[in-house]
């Protein structure tokens, strides 16, 4: 079985400050890990993924995420937040090397960046 936890329903940061959105996961084997963003009245958009290799993954819009195997975490980060980053963020996990294709999503974290 695979699962994802996003422990914070809401994250508030001031514009220009660094932001972190937390994600922990559980999977039987090695994980594929993903972050998606959902802006109001728009569909989910892919931000970045970790498959293998470097633990620090860079993605769209200046976001990055750090894979930590020992802590089973994949936190999303950005050095300097923008008001336009305000959105709903979802972490997802899929087990590596299966053909099942199923990704499990967290329940999302609402990020609010205040000017």
């Amino acid at each position: 079985a695979q699962s994802v936890a996003q422990p914070e329903d809401q994250v508030n940061v001031a514009e220009g400050n660094p932001l972190t959105v937390k994600c922990t996961y559980s999977v039987s084997g090695n994980p594929y890990l993903f972050w998606y963003v959902q802006y109001p009245n728009r569909g989910l958009q892919f931000l970045l993924k970790y498959i293998t290799g470097d633990n620090l993954v860079k993605g769209s819009y200046g976001f990055e995420a750090e894979f930590n195997k020992s802590q089973t975490s994949f936190h999303l980060k950005k050095p300097s937040a923008l008001v336009s980053d305000s959105a709903l963020y979802f972490c997802a996990v899929r087990e590596y090397n299966t053909n099942a294709g199923k990704s499990t999503f967290g329940d999302g974290t609402t990020l609010t960046v205040k000017p």
């Binding site: 994802v4 569909g43 931000l47 993924k49 294709g101 199923k102 999302g108």
Partner: protein
């Protein structure tokens, strides 16, 4: 096309009615997925196709739910004898490769009254 297209955007069905939701993925995307998203929750997996083959349907909640992708492109999710608990946003996504990020459609919001 440029993105994943879903139709209709909104569907209101009377309890007991059958509905069909359509997904037109990005041309050339081998993998196609259906997810169900309830209000305030993350998407929940329903089923997965690789080309025309349905490789995983473990998330379909009951035998009232059926999905097909007969020619490996357009997919249809059919719900028979709709119930109130079927009310949700149904999301379709496609990806070029199995380990790629998904491209999601805008979803179909189904309301069963």
């Amino acid at each position: 096309g440029a993105g994943v297209s879903q139709s209709p955007r909104y569907k209101v069905a009377k309890r007991g009615q059958d509905v069909a939701l359509r997904c037109d993925p990005i041309s050339g995307h081998v993998s196609l997925f259906w997810y169900q998203q309830a209000l305030g929750q993350g998407p929940e997996f329903l089923t997965y196709f690789q080309n025309e083959a349905q490789l995983d349907k473990s998330g379909l909640p009951s035998d009232r739910f059926f999905a097909e992708r007969p020619e490996g492109s357009v997919s249809t999710l059919k719900i028979q004898r709709t119930q109130q608990e079927d009310s949700a946003v149904y999301l379709c996504a496609s990806s070029l490769v199995i380990d790629g990020g998904y491209t999601f459609g805008s979803g179909t919001r189904l309301t069963v009254v």
